[in-house]
């Protein structure tokens, strides 16, 4: 990492460390007082860990269930500095938890397990764990965990401070401290900006970025959408923070913010690409002229995928930023060329997917995100409209959704080569995003579940999400909450960002085709369920940043998405997760993407299951309309909503052409 800060930090650290996460200052005893949350279902290990951590003078909170840990974290976002979690837990996979935390709270997470197999460790890495400990954990290993906190902060600082320096895809070395602290976080998320400013004034050690509490910018869906749009517009290779910042034109956003976000985004894309197998295919339909040039793609992931259009990346990134861990669970092997990005999505194994879906992690990175994702679209929610089958969607169940963080819940939709799934506009996230659609990729929920079918149903429509501005960029679709997916076919709606929509989407091949490119597949059709309940007016819900951008204008998407998304999302999230719904709705409809109808039934978690057996009906036609309203023409009551969303996507032309192989997806069969 950038060394300069580190050094200075170190020196400072010893003198007065400020674990200011929650505003508490622990001075003079760095790293004492580090607030650690440890999660392990084995009480013996938990007890030992707690003792060891206490012996390191950390402030320890222990928890034996992942769900409890998540709610603790959500309730008290700034209450912890670092999380240590076991991999094997009965109620939730440790990796899912990892993803959630990364996306929602962006805390460093250390994984641990008695399993030291390379695959598992790799999984930790790809999911964004900052470290992986093998049990039995030695106290020496715990003594150094503070480095992860410091490192993360340092990076954030660094980005923050850097101003105007062009980054070549990499974080720039720390620049002078003359960071313009003046920029206030957009969306008012710079909680401590003021404080920070003061701190800075007082703090002579500018170098110690880590010590200064850095206000964290919350990358709302909308913001992320903008980000993705900008990245796509510039082309992933050329996307440097400064230019992105200029394009985004968000007051108060600093280059550093963008830089760090970009970094995460790249990691996210990298992760996704690692999964997908056919990188190039995505380009086919999705690639926008702009994106088409991915070339090396900074994102390594992209490399894998071949071409993650810048936009897609953006989208993906947004989604996966938090944790850059593409949902590995996505079993869907992206095979097709269309594919969407060879994200890890292929991983969406349905079997796992199901589980994953439940996990809130939204790994719905759009696997097959069409490269051409509209920048805008994706920005918000990069929900990969993954092939329906694939979507395991770890829908991000962000309880908090909308709010924050996680710019994109990149739903990794198995990008089945649906080819076009994501239209150009979408950032590649939606693997299957119908290309024309610039659609928003379905965030999480959607994508993942999609693929249950044939491996990776092409239909993934993970709508790329353009994070609707409203919601926090992440499409955290809370969907992930264990929603009970209706288990029916969800119309694949390219709901952008539906994060945990685990709609039971019955993906049917034909559906996919309809989706046409704009895969806005929303795996989480659960949302629709909710949608049903909600009136179309829900569309106005919080414009979740889901942007369906069929066309490349990111802006337009936003508008469109906003409603549709929010509406959809809202609805989609069934079960109780209200929050999810918001997200879902947003995510769900990625502009006109595949109109898969997502049965937003409950918690997107079922997306996985849905995918498996559901046929997602992607109504491409609807998509064409791009009007959200078109989304689901008939099936669910919400269809109107969806269609409305889809309408937005002009691109979503009736996807007759089944560019994507939506196998088995028959729109008609989607059980409502």
């Amino acid at each position: 990492m950038n060394s300069s800060s580190g050094k200075s930090y170190m020196s400072t650290a010893s003198s007065s460390v400020i674990w200011k996460a929650g505003g508490d200052v622990v001075a003079d005893q760095f790293p004492a007082g580090l607030r650690v949350l440890v999660v392990d279902d084995d009480p013996t290990c938990l007890m030992i860990l707690e003792k060891m951590l206490k012996a390191c003078q950390y402030n320890v909170t222990k928890c034996n269930r992942a769900e409890t840990a998540l709610s603790m974290l959500r309730e008290n976002r700034n209450g912890f500095d670092i999380v240590i979690s076991d991999v094997h837990m009965p109620d939730m996979d440790g990796f899912k938890l990892l993803e959630h935390i990364g996306l929602e709270m962006d805390l460093p997470v250390i994984m641990m397990s008695a399993d030291d197999g390379k695959n598992v460790v790799m999984k930790g890495v790809t999911h964004g764990a900052c470290d992986y400990l093998i049990k039995p954990v030695r106290i020496e290993a715990l003594k150094n965990i503070w480095q992860h906190v410091v490192r993360k902060r340092k990076n954030e600082w660094k980005d923050f401070e850097q101003s105007g320096s062009v980054e070549e895809g990499d974080r720039q070395p720390k620049q002078s401290e003359d960071a313009d602290y003046s920029s206030s976080a957009n969306e008012g998320n710079w909680k401590s900006s003021k404080r920070r400013k003061d701190d800075e004034d007082e703090n002579d050690e500018r170098d110690d970025t880590s010590t200064l509490k850095k206000p964290r910018v919350v990358w709302s869906v909308e913001l992320h959408q903008q980000f993705v749009a900008a990245v796509n517009q510039l082309g992933i290779e050329k996307a440097v923070p400064k230019k992105i910042l200029e394009l985004m034109n968000v007051p108060g956003l600093t280059r550093e913010n963008v830089a760090s976000h970009l970094q995460k985004y790249r990691l996210y894309l990298r992760r996704l690409s690692g999964v997908s197998q056919h990188p190039s295919n995505l380009n086919n339909s999705f690639m926008n002229p702009q994106d088409a040039t991915f070339g090396p793609l900074d994102l390594q992931a992209l490399a894998a995928t071949g071409q993650l259009p810048a936009q897609s990346l953006a989208t993906l990134q947004a989604a996966g930023l938090g944790r850059s861990t593409a949902k590995s669970g996505i079993p869907m092997p992206l095979v097709d060329q269309r594919n969407i990005f060879s994200f890890e999505n292929p991983k969406l194994r349905f079997g796992e997917a199901q589980q994953h879906v439940n996990n809130n992690k939204q790994m719905n990175l759009l696997h097959g995100i069409p490269t051409t994702m509209e920048p805008k679209q994706l920005s918000g929610l990069h929900h990969t409209a993954q092939s329906m089958g694939n979507m395991n969607m770890p829908v991000l169940s962000h309880g908090s959704q909308s709010s924050q963080n996680n710019p994109l819940l990149m739903q990794m939709a198995q990008p089945q080569a649906r080819g076009q799934m994501l239209n150009d506009s979408t950032v590649g996230l939606a693997p299957r995003l119908l290309s024309p659609m610039g659609q928003p990729m379905l965030s999480n929920g959607m994508a993942t579940n999609v693929s249950t079918r044939n491996g990776v149903p092409e239909n993934i429509r993970a709508p790329s999400y353009n994070p609707v501005s409203q919601t926090s960029s992440m499409l955290n679709f809370p969907m992930n909450h264990t929603s009970e997916l209706p288990g029916n076919s969800f119309p694949l709606v390219s709901t952008p960002g539906i994060s945990s929509l685990a709609p039971k989407v019955a993906f049917q091949e034909d559906v996919n085709s309809e989706i046409k490119g704009s895969v806005g597949f929303m795996p989480s059709y659960d949302i629709f369920n909710d949608l049903n309940q909600h009136k179309p007016q829900n569309w106005e819900l919080q414009n979740v940043g889901m942007m369906f951008n069929t066309s490349q204008h990111s802006n337009s998407l936003q508008g469109n998405l906003d409603h549709t998304q929010s509406v959809l999302v809202q609805q989609g999230f069934s079960t109780g997760q209200n929050r999810n719904s918001t997200v879902i709705s947003k995510a769900m409809f990625s502009a006109g993407d595949s109109t898969g109808h997502v049965n937003a039934q409950n918690g997107n978690q079922h997306l996985n299951s849905l995918f498996v057996d559901n046929t997602v009906r992607v109504k491409s036609e609807r998509v064409a309309d791009a009007a959200p309203a078109n989304l689901y023409p008939d099936h669910f009551g919400q269809e109107d909503l969806m269609s409305a969303l889809l309408k937005q996507q002009d691109v979503i032309a009736p996807a007759e052409n089944n560019d994507f192989d939506f196998d088995g997806y028959s729109i008609d069969n989607i059980p409502v």
Partner: protein, 147 residues
């Protein structure tokens, strides 16, 4: 004095555990975590460990009786046992667990697996039988010393 004698006895017991490799250095690390405010930490840990592990073993044994064997359950439990045994320093128990894990992974060896589980059970019971009196003695001794 009595307590001195008992102390020696306790120390000898402890050393024998290391000599026999029933315990490994993890155990000593746990001991180091004990302190004034937490003098029975190790014993508490072991109490918890024995409680859970006994249940785990029973579950495995039950699972082995069903046909077909639910390997997922067995795998999960073995994984749990591995983690906790490693964390407390139950060296021989851990070794047996690892052996079974390898065997179970290489399926098809049902009889081998069953035999290994029997061995695990034996090792575990022996371990428990050694450690529990040790802790009891320690506990009694500390009480006596307080007096």
């Amino acid at each position: 004095m009595e307590s001195k004698h008992v102390n020696r006895q306790i120390a000898a017991m402890r050393q024998s555990f290391f000599d026999e490799e029933v315990l490994d250095e993890k155990f000593s690390q746990l001991e180091q975590l004990e302190g004034k405010d937490n003098p029975n930490f190790v014993e508490e840990v072991f109490t918890m460990y024995f409680k859970d592990s006994t249940a785990f073993l029973e579950t495995i044994e039950e699972a082995m009786k069903t046909i077909p064997i639910d390997s997922i359950i067995v795998d999960n439990i073995l994984h749990q046992l591995k983690g906790s045994s490693a964390s407390v320093g139950a060296n021989k128990v851990l070794k047996e667990v690892n052996k079974i894990t390898r065997q179970v992974l290489g399926k098809g060896n049902l009889d081998g697996t069953k035999a290994s589980i029997l061995k695990l059970r034996k090792e575990y019971d022996s371990f428990k039988a050694k450690l529990e009196p040790y802790f009891q003695l320690k506990q009694a001794n500390s009480v006596a010393q307080v007096k």
